[in-house]
Amino acid sequence: MTLLIKYTLIYGIVLMLVALGACFSEHSGIINIAMEGIMVIGGVFGLLVLVMLPAGTSSFMKVLISICTAAAAGVVYSALLAFASINLKADQTIGGTALNLLATALALVLVKRYNNTMSGGTGTQSPKLSFVNSDFIFNIGPITVNVFLFVGLALLVIAIVVLYRTRFGMRLMACGEHPQAADSVGINVYRMRWCGVLISGFLGGIGGLAYIVPAVQVWNFESGVTGMGFLAIAVMIFGQWKPGRIFLAAMFFAVFKALANIYDSTFLTALNLTKEVYNMMPFIASMIILAFTSKNSRAPKAEGVPYDKGQR
C-alpha cells in the first residue's frame, strides 16, 4: 500500500505538472502536443547537469541546479513551438509532432556522446544514463517522498492564483477564447501566446525530470518518457483545463500507472496478468474516459487557430 501511494504521488505530480503546462499553453490559444518532447528535453538536460556537477556540491544545490536546468531547457525548447506557431502561423499539431520526434533523437545523441566521452572515447553506444537520485528523496514516516511533491504542490497553487486572480491570467485566457476581443482592448495577443507556450515549456521541463529522477537510478532514453506527455494531455482534457480538476485527474491516472510498477508485490499477482496489461492500463483508461467525457469538454475556443490581425 505504501508503495502504491509512493508511485501514485510520483506519477501524479508529474502528470499534473505537465498537464498544467499544457493547460497554460492552451489557455493562450496554442495546442501544445509537444509536451512529450519538452519532457524529454527537460529530463535529459536536467540529468546531464546532475551527473556533471562536481562531487562536493551540496544536496540542496544539486536539486536546485538540476531543476532549474530542466525548466530552462524546456523553456528554450518550447520557444521553437512558439516561434513556429505564433510568428510563422504554422499548424500547431504538426509543429508539436515534429518537436516530439526531434526531442528523443536529440536526447539519444547527447546521452551517447556523454557516455562515450566518460568511457574515454571507447565508442560505447549506450543510450542509458546512470545517476544518483538520493538527493531528491527522503522519508516521511513510512512513505518515501521526493522534492517534486512539494515543488509540484507549490506550482499548483501558483498556477491557480495566476490563472484566476491576476491580470495576466485573465488576459491569457482571453487570448485563447477570443483573441480578436483581446486585441480590440489593446492586449498583445502574440506576446500572451508566447508567455503561455514558454510557461508550458517551464512546467514540462520540470515534469520530465520529475518523471525520471525519483523512481530509478538509470534511464534509457531510447523510450523518451514513455508517453507520459501524451497522458498528461489526456489529463488536461479530463481536468477540463482547470488546475484544480487537473490535479485530481492526474492522481486518478497515476493510480493506474503506479499499478504497473507494483502489481507483482500485491494480491493482483493472483490474476496472472502480464506486465504489459498493467502498462497499458493508463492509456486504455484515458481512451475510455475521453471517449465519454470529451463531448462535454470546454476547450479554449480559439485554440489551434493561428491569430491573424487582419482576418475578419
Binding site: 491576476t166 491580470r167 488576459r171 480590440s184 482592448v185 475556443k301
Partner: protein
C-alpha cells in the same frame, strides 16, 4: 471654427486594400454631443473608415483631428487613450467570462498584477445606473441575451471614460424591442455629452435617432445632411446612386401545377421533448411565391431543415414534382430541382475559406461540365464563376479567386443567390434572403426572386420581416408554435391581422 465645434474630424482619408480603394478622400466631422450616422451600402467603406478611426488600419492619406489637434492613432490603445470606443458589429466578448470580466478586460484595476474587482464592480454599477443599462455583472456572456451583450459592450466603452462612441451596425442582431431600447440608450448617451458615430444602412433608424448623416458610396464621400431636412427617399438615393423602389414590381401570380407537396410533416425538437414542427401540410405551385411567415423560433428553421434534408423528420411526406423525396439525401433533392438559399449563409451557404469559384460549384463540381475522370476542369469552373459574378454583380477584391470570408455580407449573399438561381431549380427555397442587407441589395434580390417565379418556378420564402412578407409573396402561411395557423392573400390582409396570428392570438381551421 471654435474648438468646441468638432470633437473628431477625419479629413481626406484614403485607405486602399489589394484590388480595392475602400476609402477614397473621405471627410467626416463629428460634433460634440451629436448622434452622427454613417450611411452606405455593404462594401461602401463604412467599417473601414471606422477601423481607421479606431486604429485598426492606417490610412495612406489624410489626417485625424481631435478637438482641432492632429492626432495619430496607430492601434486600439491609442484610440482608447483619446477616449474613442467602439462597439463592433460582431461583439468582441469572451463568452466564458462574466460580464464584469469582459468590461474590465484590458484595463483591469490591479495591485501588483492581482485583480481588484471590487472597485471595478462599483464603478460599473454606477455607470449602469446612470445610463439605464441593465446587466447582470456575474452572468457569463454565453448565457445572456444579445441585447444584454450589447449593453455590456456599451458599458465597456463607458468604463474606459470614452467620449466618442462608435456603433458598427448595432441593430443588425437585435429584436424590434431591443432596437427601441438601444435608440433610447443612444439618446441618453448623447444627452450626457457623449458624441456618437452610428454606422447603419437602415434608413428608418437613422431618421429616428441621428442628428446628422454622412453618406458614402463605393468608397467615396457623397455628402452630409441634417436628418430633419431630409427624407428616406433622398437618403436612399444618395446611398445607392439612383432612386430606389421600395415596392416590389410584380404582375399577379399565375399559379400552375403543384411543384412541392408537403403532407403532415412533423419534426422533433432538439431542445425539448415536444415536436418543433407539428403536422404541417401545404402546397406550392408553379409561378407563385408562398411565404412562411412567423416570429422567429416557431419551427420555421426546423421545418426548412427537414424540407432540405439537413435534418430528418419523424412523420409525413414531401413530394417534389411528383416524386417522393421524404428520405432522399441532400444531393438527390438538389438534383431533383430544389435550390436552397439558407438562413445562415456562413454555416450552410458558403465554405468561407474556399474561393468564390469553388463556392460557386459546390453542388455541381461532380457534373460532367466541371470534371472529367475525377479531375476538376479548372478552366470550366473559372469560366462559369466569372459569368455568374458578371451576371449577378457580385463585387469582390479579386474576382473568382477571392476567398469568400473576405467578402462583404451582401456580396456573399449575392453569390449564394447567383449559385442557387443559376441551377435553374423547379423549387427555390429562400430563407431570410435579405437578412442584414442594404436597400440596394434587397431590391436586387427581390427582383431576382420575382424573376424566378415569372419563369414558371415555385418559390417558398421564409421571412421574419413583415415588409418583405407583404411585398413579395403571393400567398402567406403563418406558422405559430410549429403549426400553420392561417393562410392569407397579401392583397386583402393587413399587417395587424397577420400580427395577431403570428402571436398566436387567432387561428383559422385549414
Amino acid at each position: 471654427m471654435t474648438l468646441a465645434d468638432y470633437v473628431i474630424e477625419m479629413l481626406n482619408i484614403t485607405k486602399e486594400f489589394p484590388g480595392i480603394k475602400a476609402n477614397d478622400d473621405i471627410t467626416l466631422q463629428l460634433k460634440r454631443g451629436e448622434i452622427h450616422a454613417l450611411l452606405g451600402e455593404n462594401g461602401a467603406g463604412k467599417s473601414t473608415l471606422m477601423s481607421v478611426l479606431f486604429g485598426l488600419y492606417q490610412p495612406e492619406k489624410g489626417c485625424i483631428k481631435k478637438n482641432g489637434q492632429v492626432v495619430e492613432i496607430k492601434n486600439p490603445n491609442d484610440a482608447n487613450a483619446l477616449n474613442i470606443g467602439m462597439v463592433h458589429q460582431h461583439f468582441k466578448l469572451v463568452e466564458c467570462f462574466s460580464v464584469l470580466d469582459n468590461i474590465i478586460l484590458g484595463v483591469e484595476p490591479n495591485k501588483l498584477g492581482f485583480l481588484q474587482k471590487k472597485e471595478a464592480r462599483e464603478k460599473v454599477l454606477r455607470l449602469s445606473e446612470q445610463y439605464g443599462l441593465k446587466v447582470d455583472l456575474d452572468a457569463l456572456v454565453e448565457d445572456i441575451s444579445v441585447g444584454m451583450q450589447q449593453r455590456t459592450e456599451i458599458l465597456k466603452m463607458l468604463y474606459r471614460d470614452n467620449e466618442i462612441l462608435i456603433f458598427d451596425e448595432p441593430t443588425a442582431v437585435l429584436t424590434p424591442q431591443e432596437i427601441d431600447e438601444l435608440m433610447q440608450i443612444m439618446k441618453n448617451l448623447a444627452a450626457e455629452g457623449k458624441s456618437i458615430l452610428f454606422i447603419s444602412h437602415k434608413l428608418a433608424e437613422i431618421m429616428a435617432v441621428a442628428d446628422r448623416c454622412t453618406v458614402l458610396r463605393k468608397g467615396k464621400y457623397i455628402g452630409t445632411v441634417e436628418t430633419k431636412n431630409t427624407t428616406v427617399e433622398e437618403l436612399s438615393a444618395m446611398m445607392v446612386g439612383r432612386q430606389v423602389n421600395f415596392k416590389v414590381d410584380k404582375a399577379p401570380a399565375q399559379p400552375g401545377e403543384v411543384v412541392l407537396d408537403v403532407q403532415h410533416v412533423t419534426v422533433p425538437s432538439k431542445l425539448h421533448k415536444n415536436n418543433a414542427v407539428k403536422d404541417v401540410s401545404f402546397q406550392v405551385r408553379r409561378g407563385e411565391i408562398v411565404c412562411l411567415a412567423g416570429i422567429e423560433g416557431n419551427g420555421q428553421t426546423q421545418f426548412i431543415h427537414a424540407l432540405t434534408g439537413l435534418d430528418a423528420m419523424s412523420a409525413g411526406t414531401i413530394t417534389l414534382c411528383g416524386k417522393d423525396i421524404s428520405k432522399a439525401p441532400i444531393r438527390q433533392r438538389s438534383k431533383d430541382g430544389m435550390s436552397h438559399i439558407p438562413e445562415d449563409r456562413h454555416k450552410h451557404g458558403l465554405v468561407l475559406d474556399f474561393t468564390l469559384e469553388q463556392n460557386m460549384v459546390l453542388q455541381r463540381y461532380w457534373q460532367p461540365q466541371f470534371q472529367k475522370g475525377g479531375f476538376i476542369k479548372f478552366d470550366a469552373v473559372r469560366e462559369y464563376s466569372d459569368r455568374l459574378i458578371e451576371q449577378y454583380d457580385v463585387r469582390s477584391g479579386q474576382g473568382s479567386v477571392t476567398v469568400a470570408r473576405s467578402m462583404s455580407g451582401g456580396n456573399q449573399q449575392k453569390a449564394i443567390v447567383a449559385r442557387e438561381i443559376d441551377k435553374d431549380p423547379e423549387l427555390l427555397i429562400a430563407v431570410q434572403p435579405t437578412r442584414g442587407l442594404d436597400v440596394g441589395a434587397i431590391e436586387y434580390i427581390h427582383q431576382q426572386i420575382v424573376a424566378v417565379r415569372d419563369a414558371g418556378k415555385a418559390v417558398l420564402l421564409v421571412s421574419l420581416e413583415l415588409d418583405e412578407v407583404m411585398n413579395l409573396s403571393d400567398r402567406i402561411l403563418v406558422m405559430y408554435e410549429g403549426e400553420i395557423v392561417g393562410q392569407f392573400d397579401p392583397k386583402t390582409v393587413t399587417v395587424e391581422e397577420l400580427g395577431l396570428y403570428m402571436a398566436g392570438a387567432k387561428r383559422m381551421e385549414l
